[in-house]
């Protein structure tokens, strides 16, 4: 009787904690969405008459293009590096992750510097052939197609990472059964591997698309008007913050609908891998001809997504850039510790949320967690404003309290500090860590919990001693992605950071937006470098754990 009671207690304790966390994370989004309750002012007829259709059409085209791109690169490369055997496979499996370290706006700046009409390639071409503008065709990088390619190149690793994990987990047994049923390899891929990996692929695609929707830097630079540039044009140009928030809320609604639709479409499918011990999957040995094809397929995204832009940045940094404000160590350290703190917080919170959900399949926690995940689709600036509003309100209460009690002026202690910044990162990137942590936890069979609990472990002990070690790989993946994402994050950092505090991303952006792309190269290169380190380290350790 006594034992039962204590169970019940920790049970409630955890789900309440989870609910509180989920609600806190939802607050900024609720604040933004509350604009839907305000009147739809005179900005709306103007938007509808003029630019809104452009915003919507361009955003949809962008989403479709990026979807096609990340799936075409992410899924095949994931399959090659998990199911096939060919020389260089191990190297490719982590090289394919590298573009993750490159921020979208930086790859856009780099390729523009290279491919623009006034850039070195076209200038050389003209000098060599004597042709002038309009005499020849050349790919216009500053276009919708250009934006799709740039975003695809840096976002496909989400699909690759999650799809690869899913492929690796498919037991060879099921595949073999499939083969004995008379399917050939291609059929087995389309009828078994792909459907089984579908939730993971969709999860990766969702992340890529949410980041696409939140992107402002790339599309703005290319002169493509999307829904997000529209939010900022309404905010900055028309000076209408309410209409801008309403636009952002509609964006959120759209994303929520997509997610609901996707969940509904696979409501009946549940895939469980039965084998506890994965038989080392029988890898498909590639012929020499196929190896070459696979190599090319892997080298294209690595080359265009990482090697070329990183080399160009390195070249600019070494030969041409003027080093402005040389305190790069401080910048790198700021970026690094913010990213690592945010990653730890996000993963820790995800663990609590996912575990609470597992213990008690409570609807309120589930819904709150789903809503919390939507934050990833919102542009950072909008999240940031949704964060300062409640924090400043709280601050004002605290100031009033301290003033009336102690005649003390404590100033702002929450907004305008690193606390606000870490809060923003958590809201924005919880979706990512949640995805990885949840899928890791789901793979652990519930009967393990029961066994551990019957041995007298508390819920928390089960989590710490059993689950965490079992799901190391998922936890590390979550840490890695959040770390790299925070490192690249710009808009929320820009508006929320405290006095005299800069990061690499802020520094690179300041120079780039001042039209000094080449001078921004050293900082950009350092973002890539700092991001690279954990990408390599973690992918190595993930691989070792897998073996």
């Amino acid at each position: 009787m006594k034992i039962n009671l204590s169970h019940l207690k920790s049970f409630n304790w955890l789900s309440y904690l989870a609910l509180i966390i989920a609600i806190l994370v939802c607050v900024p989004m609720l604040i933004v969405s509350s604009s839907l309750l305000s009147e739809f002012g005179p900005t709306w007829p103007h938007l509808i008459d003029t630019v809104l259709s452009d915003y919507v059409i361009n955003s949809i085209l962008l989403l479709l293009g990026v979807s096609a791109g990340v799936l075409l690169i992410g899924v095949p490369t994931a399959w090659f590096t998990s199911m096939c055997d060919f020389p260089g496979k191990n190297i490719f499996s982590w090289l394919l992750l590298l573009p993750l370290a490159v921020p979208a706006y930086i790859i856009a700046y780099t390729y523009t510097g290279l491919l623009d009409f006034a850039g070195p390639l076209q200038t050389t071409l003209r000098n060599f052939t004597g042709l002038g503008y309009g005499d020849y065709w050349f790919f216009e990088i500053r276009s919708l197609t250009g934006a799709i390619i740039m975003l695809t190149l840096v976002l496909y690793p989400y699909v690759y990472l999650l799809a690869r994990a899913a492929f690796l987990e498919q037991s060879s047994n099921s595949l073999e059964v499939c083969r004995t049923l008379g399917y050939n390899r291609t059929q087995a891929f389309f009828h078994l591997s792909l459907p089984m990996a579908r939730p993971a692929i969709i999860a990766g695609l969702t992340l890529a698309l949410m980041e696409t929707l939140a992107d402002y830097g790339t599309v703005e630079f290319f002169g493509v008007s999307t829904f997000t540039t529209g939010i900022f044009r309404t905010f900055y140009g028309l000076g209408d913050t309410v209409a801008a928030s309403q636009l952002a809320s509609l964006l959120l609604t759209f994303v929520a609908m997509l997610i609901i639709l996707e969940r509904y479409s696979r409501r009946q499918f549940r895939y469980h891998s039965n084998s506890e011990q994965r038989a080392a999957a029988q890898l498909i040995k590639l012929s020499r001809k196929h190896t070459v094809i696979v190599w090319v397929f892997c080298l294209v995204p690595i080359g265009f997504g990482f090697i070329i832009p990183a080399s160009v940045l390195a070249f600019w940094a070494v030969t041409q850039a003027e080093f402005i404000i040389s305190d790069f160590m401080t910048l790198a350290w700021n970026s690094f510790y913010l990213a690592i703190s945010a990653a730890l917080i996000a993963v820790f919170l995800s663990l609590i949320l996912a575990y609470a959900k597992r213990l008690k399949n409570s609807k309120s926690v589930t819904h709150a967690v789903s809503i919390a995940g939507l934050g990833y689709a919102l542009p950072g600036t909008i999240i940031a404003i949704g964060i300062i509003i409640p924090l400043a309100w709280l601050d004002h209460q605290l100031i009033g309290l301290f003033h009336s009690l102690f005649q003390l002026d404590i100033g702002l202690v929450l907004s305008g500090t690193l606390f606000a910044l870490l809060f923003a990162y958590t809201v924005r990137f919880l979706a990512i860590s949640m995805g990885a942590v949840q899928s890791g936890l789901e793979k652990i069979k519930p009967n393990i919990d029961s066994a551990a609990r019957s041995l007298g472990n508390s819920n928390v002990q089960v989590l710490v001693n059993i689950h965490v070690p079992l799901m190391r790989r998922s936890l590390l993946t979550a840490l890695l992605i959040v770390f790299v994402d925070v490192l690249k994050e710009l808009p929320a950092t820009l508006i929320l950071r405290p006095f005299n505090f800069n990061t690499l991303a802020v520094h690179a952006f300041e120079l780039a937006s001042d039209e000094r792309l080449i001078d921004a190269a050293p900082a950009s290169l350092m973002i890539v470098g700092v991001g690279l380190l954990p990408v390599i380290l973690l992918s190595q350790s993930i691989r070792k754990m897998g073996n």
Partner: protein, 343 residues
């Protein structure tokens, strides 16, 4: 005694349990929210620190985002000075009620009336001219005359334009609305867009490079971007300077469109005296010369010395439209450009 200790402990606990880099608010400080980029303001602030002994704390960011932060933080905001790079946003800050009037004889006497707010809420600190640039080998200066003329069909396919998301284009159109009225400005914008050689993209420097590379023959840009190319030692930049020249339009009527970067003291300022000192320092002859030398901007002081690059462009007549009009007409300008299909 116990009471004091417990008070202190409470404050300490509150501060330490929250991850914070709260600053001890000392007397010799001034806190700045700046839309001017760090590289273009920090050196000046460092000089101020050295000469005054007042520590300057800085946050840079986008003007509207910083303004939003100021508004939300309200009277608890730590900011003392708000710096922007265009008059429109200063006016917006004034309308949002986040600035307070400054009584400074020096600022009022040395800055011309049209470059500061009538109620002394903000002061222009450097001027930027947005003017016409042309390809020397294709266009002769006497073919050019005014902003209005750029919409003439003779320039069809020969004009490069930056996106209308850019505040400097918005301010230019806002000034035109004030000068020639909304209807004429609308017609002008419609015809202007019909003349463009390629869809708008990139910054002012990109437009100048496009003119040099032969994509188009004329464009609009702020002069300091050209000044930077003149001061650059990169061969590709020198090449642009060789091929492109400045033209001052509307010399027979209102003059060249001017904007300012400027500053105001915030409503919440706890270091008001220091804040005024800082703004006065930025308007001093020494700082004014710095703006010109470092970023090729025009001083607001009438008698300030200007750098050689600026001198080489020759004298010109500047538009003296009251700059608060730029802010007041900004929304109308954006709507007008939306209707014209100016991306």
């Amino acid at each position: 005694m116990l009471n004091i200790i417990s008070k202190k402990l409470l404050v300490l606990a509150t501060c330490s349990c929250i991850l914070t880099t709260q600053f001890v608010l000392a007397d010799s400080e001034v806190n700045v929210y700046s839309a001017r980029k760090e590289a273009l303001i920090k050196p000046l602030l460092d000089k101020f620190e050295k000469s005054s002994g007042i520590t300057v704390n800085l946050i840079t960011g986008k003007a509207d985002a910083l303004l939003q932060r100021l508004k939300i933080e309200g009277k608890a905001s730590p900011a003392d000075v708000f710096i922007t790079v265009d008059a429109g946003r200063l006016q917006r800050a004034k309308e949002a009620g986040v600035l307070q009037p400054v009584d400074s004889a020096f600022l009022q006497q040395s800055i011309p009336a049209h470059l500061r707010d009538a109620d002394n809420l903000w002061f222009g600190l450097s001027q930027r001219a947005r003017t016409i640039f042309y390809a020397k080998d294709k266009v002769k200066a006497d073919q050019l005359s005014s902003y209005e003329d750029l919409a003439d069909s003779k320039w069809k396919g020969k004009l490069c334009l930056r996106s209308s998301n850019n505040i400097y284009n918005q301010s230019l159109v806002a000034a035109m609305i004030d000068n020639i009225g909304p209807e004429k400005t609308q017609t002008w914008a419609n015809n202007l867009v019909a003349n463009i050689a390629k869809p708008p993209s990139g910054g002012d420097t990109d437009q100048l490079k496009a003119v040099a590379a032969g994509v188009c023959e004329i464009t609009l840009a702020n002069t300091y971007y050209f000044g930077r190319l003149m001061n650059s030692d990169k061969p590709s930049d020198r090449e642009v300077v060789k091929k492109v020249a400045v033209f001052w339009p509307n010399q027979n009527d209102r003059g060249v469109h001017m904007n300012v970067s400027g500053a105001g003291v915030t409503q919440s300022a706890r270091n008001k005296v220091n804040a005024i000192k800082l703004i006065e320092f930025m308007a001093s002859a020494e700082s004014q010369a710095w703006y010109a030398a470092i970023n090729s901007e025009f001083p607001v002081l009438v008698d300030a010395s200007i750098a050689d690059a600026l001198d080489s462009w020759g004298d010109f007549k500047a538009d003296t439209v009251a700059l608060n009009k730029l802010g007041e007409n900004n929304r109308a300008a954006v709507e007008l450009m939306d209707r014209a299909g100016w991306k």
